[in-house]
C-alpha cells in the first residue's frame, strides 16, 4: 500500500531527475533518454505547428474578401500546399506519438526506456533532416501541388520544388517508421512484471495500433514519393499521363498510405482522450477491451478504405461501392469509442480541469467530424460535396477538433509530469474555451459554404459567400489567440510555476507513481503491477481516503 502523501512530499528533496541530469548541449543532442528526445520533439514540432498556423492565418486573411487581393492565385496555391505539408507531415503525424508517446509509453508500462534508444534518437535526427530540407525548399520557392502531390500537378505542370519537398517527406517518413518500430517492440518486450496486455493504459493500446499503421503504411508513401521523384528526374511515365503513366495509380498508392495516415493522426489522440475521460471522471473506463480492440480494428479497416478519396476520379463504380461500404464499417469502431467514453462519464465524479475541458471538447467536435465523414463516404452525396469546403470542414473537425485538441489536452495533462511545474489552471481553462469557440466559429461556416458549393483551393470566390467567410476568419482569430495563450502560460510556468507533486490529481496510472519530473531511469525500482488500468479502488494501492477528502468525491 503506497501512501499518497509520501508521493506528494517526494518533490521536496529535489533528487536528480532527467532534466537536471546534465546541462550541456551535448547531453541533449546525444541523449538516449526517451524523455529528453520527447522534449526535443516538443520544441521542433511546436515550431512547425506555428509555421503551419501562420500559413493558415494567411489563407483566412486572403479569404476575407471575394477577390484575390492579398495573394495572387499562384501564391495562394503555394500557401495552402505548404500549410498542408507542414501541418500533416511535420505536426499532426509526429506530435502525439513522438512527444507524448515517446515520453509516456516506457513510463506507463514500467520500462526504463524504449527498446532501442539510439534508434529513437536517430528518428529525431531524421525528422530534423527531413524538416530542414522541406523548409529549405519552401524558402527557395515552395510547392504548389497541394499536399497530395497529385500527378500531373506534381510532374508536367509543376516547376516548383517538388523533388526537395518530396525528399524531405521521404526522410521524415523513416523517422515515423522507426518510431513505430520502437513502440511495437517496446510494448511487446519491455512491460514491467505484472503489466499484462489488458492492464496497459489505453493510451498504449492506441499507440500500438498507430505503430502498426506507421510500419505498414509509411513505406508505401516512401516508395511512391521516390518513384515520383525519379519520374521528375528521368521524365519517364509511371504516373504522368503525358508520357504513358497512370495518374490514378498514383492516387491509389498515395491514399493507401495517406488514408491510414489520418488514423496515425487521430488514434493517438483517442488514446489521450481515453486517459483523460477515465481519470477525470475518477472511474474505471467503461468497456476497456472494446476500446482497446477498436483501436486495432481502426488500424486494420483503415487500410481498406483509401478508395473513398477517389470516388470521382475515375475509379470503377463497383470499387467505389465496396470502398463506400468499408468506409461505413470503419466508422463503427470510432463509434464504439464514443459510446464507451460517454458511458464512462455516466455517474463519474467529473473534474472540469483544463485537460478534461479539452477532452469534452474533443467528444463534441469529433462527433461532428465523424458524422460528416459518413456524408462524404456515401458515393452519391460526395459527387455534390467533393472538393468543396465541406471536405475542408470535415477534415479540420477531425484533425483540429480531434487531434489538435487531444494533443493540447494531453500536453496540459502531462505538463506537470514532463516539466515538474504546474501551469495556471485559470488561463488554461480560458484558453481551452477560446479554442473551442474559435474553432467552431472558423469551421462550422465552412460546412455551409461547402454545401452551398464553394470549391476549395481557390483564392477568390463569388460575393454571396463572403458573410460566412468573414465568420470563418473571425473565428480563426479567436482560435489563434486560444492557441497562442498556452505557449505563453506554459512557458511562464517553467520559471514561475509551482513545483508539481508526483501525483497532482491522485490518479492510479504508473506515470503518476514516479517523481515529477521522473528520474532518468523512470523508476527507482522496476515497478510490479498488481492493479488494472484506471483502478480507483483500494486495489490500486493508492490511499483513496486522501483523494476523497481532497476532491470530495465518492469513489
Amino acid at each position: 500500500m503506497q501512501n499518497v502523501d509520501a508521493i506528494d512530499s517526494g518533490y521536496a528533496e529535489k533528487p536528480v531527475n532527467y532534466l537536471t541530469n546534465g546541462y550541456t548541449v551535448k547531453s541533449w543532442l546525444l541523449t538516449k533518454d526517451h524523455k529528453r528526445i520527447a522534449i526535443m520533439y516538443l520544441i521542433v514540432v511546436s515550431i512547425f505547428f506555428m509555421m503551419g498556423g501562420l500559413y493558415a492565418a494567411t489563407i483566412r486573411l486572403e479569404l476575407l474578401t471575394p477577390q484575390s487581393d492579398l495573394l495572387q492565385s499562384g501564391t495562394y496555391n503555394k500557401v495552402f500546399t505548404q500549410h498542408g505539408i507542414l501541418m500533416i507531415f511535420f505536426f499532426l503525424i509526429p506530435s502525439i506519438p513522438a512527444i507524448l508517446g515517446n515520453f509516456l509509453i516506457p513510463i506507463m508500462i514500467g520500462a526504463k526506456d524504449l527498446a532501442f534508444p539510439k534508434v529513437n534518437l536517430l528518428s529525431w535526427y531524421l525528422y530534423m533532416i527531413g524538416g530542414a530540407l522541406t523548409l529549405w525548399a519552401l524558402m527557395q520557392g515552395g510547392v504548389d501541388t497541394g499536399w497530395t502531390f497529385y500527378t500531373p500537378y506534381s510532374t508536367t505542370f509543376s516547376n516548383s520544388y517538388v523533388m526537395a519537398v518530396g525528399l524531405g517527406i521521404f526522410i521524415n517518413g523513416f523517422s515515423s517508421i522507426l518510431t513505430g518500430l520502437n513502440f511495437i517492440v517496446t510494448i511487446h518486450t519491455m512491460r514491467a512484471p505484472g503489466m499484462t496486455w489488458f492492464r496497459m493504459p489505453l493510451f498504449v493500446w492506441a499507440h500500438y495500433a498507430t505503430s502498426l499503421i506507421m510500419i505498414l503504411g509509411t513505406p508505401v508513401i516512401a516508395i511512391t514519393i521516390l518513384l515520383l521523384a525519379i519520374e521528375r528526374l528521368a521524365q519517364i511515365g509511371i504516373f504522368d499521363p503525358a508520357i504513358g503513366g497512370d495518374p490514378i495509380l498514383f492516387q491509389h498508392l498515395f491514399w493507401f498510405y495517406s488514408h491510414p495516415a489520418v488514423y496515425i493522426m487521430i488514434l493517438p489522440g483517442m488514446g489521450v482522450i481515453s486517459e483523460l475521460i477515465s481519470n477525470f471522471s475518477r472511474k474505471k473506463i467503461f468497456g476497456y477491451e472494446f476500446i482497446a480492440f477498436s483501436s486495432i480494428a481502426i488500424a486494420v479497416f483503415g487500410f481498406l478504405v483509401w478508395g473513398h478519396h477517389m470516388f470521382v476520379s475515375g475509379q470503377s463504380t463497383y470499387a467505389g461501392l465496396v470502398f463506400s461500404f468499408l468506409t461505413m464499417v470503419v466508422a463503427v469502431p470510432s463509434a464504439i469509442k464514443m459510446f464507451n467514453w460517454t458511458a464512462t462519464l455516466y455517474k463519474g465524479s467529473i473534474l472540469f480541469d483544463t485537460p478534461m475541458l479539452y477532452a469534452l471538447g474533443f467528444m463534441g467536435l469529433f462527433l461532428i467530424g465523424g458524422l460528416t465523414g459518413l456524408f462524404l463516404g456515401s458515393m452519391g452525396l460526395v459527387v455534390h460535396l467533393t472538393d468543396t469546403y465541406f471536405v475542408v470542414a470535415h477534415f479540420h473537425y477531425v484533425m483540429v477538433g480531434g487531434q489538435v485538441i487531444a494533443y493540447l489536452g494531453g500536453i496540459h495533462y502531462w505538463w506537470s509530469k514532463m516539466t515538474g511545474k504546474m501551469y495556471s489552471e485559470f488561463w488554461g481553462k480560458i484558453s481551452a474555451m477560446l479554442v473551442f469557440v474559435g474553432f467552431n466559429l472558423t469551421f462550422f461556416p465552412q460546412f455551409i459554404l461547402g454545401y452551398q458549393g464553394m470549391p476549395r483551393r481557390y483564392a477568390s470566390y463569388p460575393e454571396e459567400f463572403q458573410v460566412l467567410n468573414i465568420f470563418s476568419t473571425a473565428g480563426a482569430s479567436v482560435l489563434g489567440v486560444g492557441l497562442v495563450m498556452p505557449v505563453v502560460y506554459l512557458a511562464h510556468s517553467l520559471i514561475w510555476g509551482k513545483d508539481a507533486p508526483a501525483n497532482p490529481w491522485l490518479l492510479p496510472g504508473l506515470e503518476w507513481r514516479t517523481a515529477s519530473p521522473p528520474p532518468t531511469e523512470n523508476f527507482e525500482e522496476t515497478p510490479i503491477v498488481t492493479w488494472e488500468a484506471y483502478d480507483f479502488t483500494e486495489e490500486s494501492g493508492l490511499d483513496l481516503e486522501d483523494a476523497r477528502n481532497k476532491y470530495k468525491v465518492t469513489v
Binding site: 517496446t186 519491455m190 510500419i215 511515365g237
Partner: protein
C-alpha cells in the same frame, strides 16, 4: 568465447547487455522482434514497387515481354544461384555462431560477402550491357553511338553476354539483333528494336492483345494510325516503363545488398574478435534475417523481370 557468461548470477551484468533491458533474454527478444518488424516495413516498401510492376504488366504484357527479352536470363539465373548459396553460408554462420565456433564464423562470413560481391559484379555487367545497347530508360544516359560509328559492342563481346542458356528462339534472333546493335545513337537515347515490334505484330495477328494494349500501342490521342499500324513511339514508352521498373527494382535491391555487405563487414569484425558465443549470438541471427530477406526479394524479382513473357518468343500464339 573469451568470456563464459553466467547469466544466473543476479547482479552480473553480461557484456552486450544494454542499460534499458533487464536481462539478455529480453534484449534478444527485442532485437529479434525489431528486425522482423523492420522486415515487414521492407516488404511494404518493395510491395509498392511490385504493385506498380503488376499494374503495368497486366496492361502491357507485350511491352513487358519485349523488355524482358533484352534481359539475359543466364546472368539473372547465375545471380539467383549465387544468392541462394550465400543464404546457405549465412545460415551456416548462424549455426556456427550458436556453436561458438569462431573460425568457421569468420570463414563463412567472408564467403557470404564474396557471394554478395559476385552478385553486385554481375549486376554491374548487366547494367553496362544495358548502357551499351541503349536500353537505359533515360534519354542521354546511354552510350552515344555516332552515325556509322565503331563504338558499338562487337559481336564477339556481345555473344559472351547472350549465350550459354539462351533459348533457341533468341539465338535465332541473334543475327538481326546484332545488326540492330550497330544502329547509330548519337544522343544516347532509349530505343527499341524491330524484334520488339515483332512481338506486338504476333500478338495482333494472334488476337491476344489486352484492351489497354489496343489503345496504348495503336493510337496516339488523335486516333488510331491507318491499317492497324503500330505507333512505335507509344510502344517504346511502354517498353521504357518496363526498363524503368527494372532499374528501380534491381537498383533498390542492389542498394540493400550494399547495406547488407556493410552489415557483414561489421559482423566479420565482431566475429573476428570472438564476440559471438553459444550464449550471445543474436546479432548474427538478426543480420542473417536481413540477408535472407534481401535474397528472397531477388527470388521474386528474377522470375518477374527475366522469365515472365519469354514464351512469347516462341510465338506465344500457339
Amino acid at each position: 568465447m573469451a568470456h563464459a557468461v553466467d547469466t544466473h548470477e543476479h547482479h552480473y551484468h553480461p557484456p552486450g547487455l544494454q542499460h534499458q533491458f533487464e536481462d539478455m533474454k529480453q534484449q534478444e527478444e527485442s532485437v529479434s522482434i525489431g528486425m522482423w518488424v523492420f522486415l515487414v516495413q521492407e516488404i511494404m516498401f518493395f510491395g509498392g514497387l511490385f504493385t506498380v510492376y503488376l499494374v503495368f504488366r497486366s496492361r502491357f504484357p507485350m511491352a513487358f515481354a519485349a523488355g524482358s527479352n533484352h534481359l539475359d536470363a543466364f546472368w539473372g539465373g547465375l545471380n539467383t544461384l549465387v544468392l541462394i548459396v550465400s543464404s546457405l553460408t549465412m545460415a551456416l554462420t548462424v549455426y556456427y555462431a550458436q556453436k561458438g565456433n569462431r573460425n568457421m564464423q569468420v570463414i563463412l562470413i567472408i564467403l557470404t560477402m564474396f557471394f554478395g560481391t559476385v552478385f553486385l559484379g554481375v549486376k554491374a555487367i548487366e547494367y553496362t550491357d544495358k548502357y551499351n545497347h541503349g536500353t537505359v530508360p533515360v534519354d542521354g544516359w546511354n552510350k552515344r553511338i555516332p552515325e556509322g560509328g565503331t563504338q558499338h559492342s562487337s559481336p564477339a563481346e556481345h555473344s559472351t553476354l547472350t549465350l550459354p542458356f539462351e533459348t533457341k528462339a533468341s539465338a535465332a534472333d541473334a543475327e538481326p539483333h546484332e545488326s540492330e546493335a550497330v544502329h547509330p545513337n548519337p544522343q544516347g537515347r532509349f530505343r527499341i528494336e524491330d524484334k520488339d515490334l515483332e512481338l506486338v505484330k504476333q500478338a495482333q495477328e494472334g488476337n491476344y492483345l489486352t484492351g489497354s494494349e489496343k489503345i496504348g500501342y495503336f493510337s496516339n490521342g488523335q486516333g488510331s494510325l491507318p491499317n492497324g499500324q503500330i505507333d512505335e513511339a507509344k510502344f517504346r514508352d511502354k517498353v521504357r516503363i518496363f526498363f524503368w521498373i527494372y532499374f528501380v527494382m534491381t537498383g533498390l535491391h542492389a542498394l540493400h545488398m550494399i547495406i547488407g555487405l556493410g552489415v557483414m563487414l561489421w559482423l566479420l569484425w565482431r566475429a573476428w574478435l570472438g564476440s559471438y558465443t553459444a550464449e550471445y549470438f543474436s546479432p548474427v541471427e538478426t543480420a542473417g534475417l536481413y540477408w535472407h530477406f534481401v535474397d528472397i526479394v531477388w527470388i521474386f524479382l528474377f522470375p518477374l523481370l527475366y522469365l515472365l513473357g519469354r514464351h512469347f518468343l516462341h510465338g506465344g500464339g500457339h
